[in-house]
């Protein structure tokens, strides 16, 4: 009788858990991609842990549920590593928990499940359950505006500095030419001018003496 009941249970389980069964989910793990050399092998112990995590998620999600590890059925484990699982309902005979509940439970506890296996959303995939992607951190002021503001202030400061410097130079030049004009207007003080340039403003020391026109005593024949 025991053998018969066991085989009935086994057949029933096989009926419930098969690829594309109702309320069944496919799981795919990429352990080597995630962990490289530290990758662990997928064996019966890992499967036990997985069953435990699913049962844990169901219990956390709905306090009514008293899901046992034996309620979680795994099948079609491949070398990839991928498999299908269902969660049976112990209160009702030979039925599975609705997929929507399982989905909600897994979603709620995704982080815990991932960390138990040292994997992430990408390397531990529940194929029909989409994960919410974490939004990127956005600062209150966009970073580019800050840099823009800094550069803008520098450029405007440079422009103002150059313009003010130019105005000051302009005023100085105007004052100088006004002084020179007032000097030239005074007829009593004859200002010796050469080509319209007042001789005082010329720096005679800096000028070159043109040797051709310099008075050379030897040019004049001696009397």
């Amino acid at each position: 009788v025991l053998l018969l009941s066991l085989s009935v249970v086994a057949i029933a389980h096989a009926e419930l858990c098969k690829p594309d069964a109702q309320n069944a989910f496919k799981v795919r793990l990429s352990i080597k991609t995630a962990l490289g050399d530290n990758a662990y092998a997928w064996d019966a112990n890992e499967e036990y842990l997985f069953k435990a995590m699913v049962a844990f998620s169901m219990r956390r999600y709905s306090s009514k549920r008293t899901t046992q590890i034996s309620n979680v059925l795994l099948c079609n484990v491949t070398g990839r590593v991928s498999f299908w699982f269902v969660v049976t309902d112990s209160s009702k005979n030979v039925t599975t928990v609705p997929g929507s509940e399982i989905e909600a439970a897994i979603r709620m506890n995704r982080n815990r499940i991932n960390s138990a296996f040292l994997l992430s959303d990408k390397t531990l995939q529940f194929l029909k359950i989409t994960s919410t992607l974490s939004p990127p951190v956005e600062p209150s002021t966009p970073a580019w505006l800050i840099v823009f503001g800094v550069v803008l202030c520098l450029i405007v400061a440079g422009i103002v500095f150059l313009i003010v410097g130019g105005i000051r130079q302009h005023k100085k030049k105007n004052k100088e030419s006004a002084e020179r004009e007032s000097l030239e207007e005074k007829d009593e003080v004859t200002v010796t001018a050469e080509n319209g340039i007042a001789c005082e403003s010329l720096d005679l020391k800096a000028g070159h003496i043109n040797g051709v026109f310099a008075a050379d005593d030897e040019r004049f024949t001696s009397l």
Binding site: T33, G79, V81, L152, I155, I159, I163, G196
Partner: protein, 592 residues
Amino acid sequence: AMEKSRPLWDNPLQFIFACISYAVGLGNVWRFPYLCQMYGGGGFLIPYLIMLVAEGMPLLYLELAVGQRMRQGSIGAWKIISPYLCGVGVASVVVSFFLSMYYNVINAWAFWYLFHSFQDPLPWATCPLNINHTGYEEECEKTSSTQYFWYRQTLNISPSLETSGSVQWEQALCLTLAWLVVYLCILRGTQSTGKVVYVTASLPYCVLIIYLIRGLTLHGALNGLIYMFTPKLEQLSNPKAWISAATQIFFSLGLGFGSLIAFASYNEPSNNCERHAVIVSLINSTTSIFASIVTFSIYGFKATFNYESCISKMILLLMNAFDLEEGSLTADNLSEMKDYLMATHPREYAQLLPQLKNCSLEAELDTAVQGTGLAFIVYSEAIKNMEVPQLYSVLYFVMLLMLGIGSMLGNTAAILTPLTDSKAIAARFPKEVISGAVCFFNCVIGLIFTMEAGNYWFDIFNDYAATLSLLLIVLVETIAVCYIYGIRRFEKDLHTMIGHKPNWYWKIMWTFASPLLIISLFIFYLSDYILTGALQYQAWDATQGQLVTKDYPSYALALIGLLVAASTMCIPLGALVTFIRKRLERESVSTI
């Protein structure tokens, strides 16, 4: 009273740096590598160097000599050569004006990318999430994150030219900043420009050297270099290769805008412009070749990266579909495994077939890009995959800025020098006010290019505002100097300036070779436009995530015609106006 002397460069080095800063621009980085790739790789250097010697150096020497001799901006210089040629100077100013209107938008984009480089991760490295955070933005999924950042987040481009959309305030801010920077550099004339060109001329080379070292050490760079530089000598028989070489030399040196005349007019009369012309044109071409080495190594890196991620995707797809063990499929055994799987599981394999792609390195290398696409999409894609991408991003966009601002300095000099030379305007307003007015006016008009359809208008200006007009202007310039002014008189002027007469090589180039080349280029372009029929443009389709070809609406075609006519008509109009004025003077004299 003492006459106000013309401002001069502090030393000849400033003049060389100004010319290099102006000539070495974005075209060296984003146009020459494309041409090199399209027209025979290493073999393209042959027509390029021939055109440099036959067309580039003589025309550059001619413009510099004219500016140095006449010591005036373009309008004044051509008026001295012959009063009927004042239209040539005006045409140069008009073309420079059009150029400065749209060119600074590129600097605005460079600023935008530069400011966004101070983030981790770079904003163009990943796609943004969609509204309910379940996946990525749809448009970004269809195309790549770098293209999405360019077309959507930078330009916010509209689907066609007709839908103008609104002005993008972020781009408008960057454009204003770009114009403020230009204003700062030209504010004091040669005093300020002379110092700025030390930086704008040398900084790009520093960055290019850093990128050369970085580029050559990237994984897969060698693939790009070998593929691009292997000469395909059969392209030499393609006339388009020679025409592209001639066009590239011509536009790369910036002839005909009046900028070179303006720069040379601030020289000492005894400056050796012959030597400087040879130096500047050689440096310009060498920079193009240097920049293409960098670009090809970047191409190689990007193509190898894409090829390897394509292979990884295929491996993942096959592994998941057939539940194979991890590590059983590698890049080496991929093709054998594909055949094996096709044989053992034909039905499932057939189902998978539409998603399976044949990854090919050659196909990735063959994607040839030029223009803003190369500078802002391809390079940013390569940068996001490097280590410390923020550093390389900042360096790269600072280099683009230096190149762009250097060219803008030349452009604005071409506009401002005639304005400050003319006594009517210069006597009433100080040069700070004139520069400010020009910058402000250009900035306001430039806001058109910051609208959603702005990039389409940009393409119109980029393709048509300067091309035909410049060819005509330089042709008239060469003929004017050789035949109206007289080659003998020009020779004597050069002898006075630099101490020796130009040898027979220059004379033959000026009188025959260069004008013939320009005429043939002109005829080619005209016939090309006429034969093509309807002019078309590339529009971005957000639903497909790629560019589609569309026809220009009639008002865009009218604008194109107006752009070309506005500058070319100045030449005959100028001659006509002078003729009428002389007639009136003669009549008024004779009646006395």
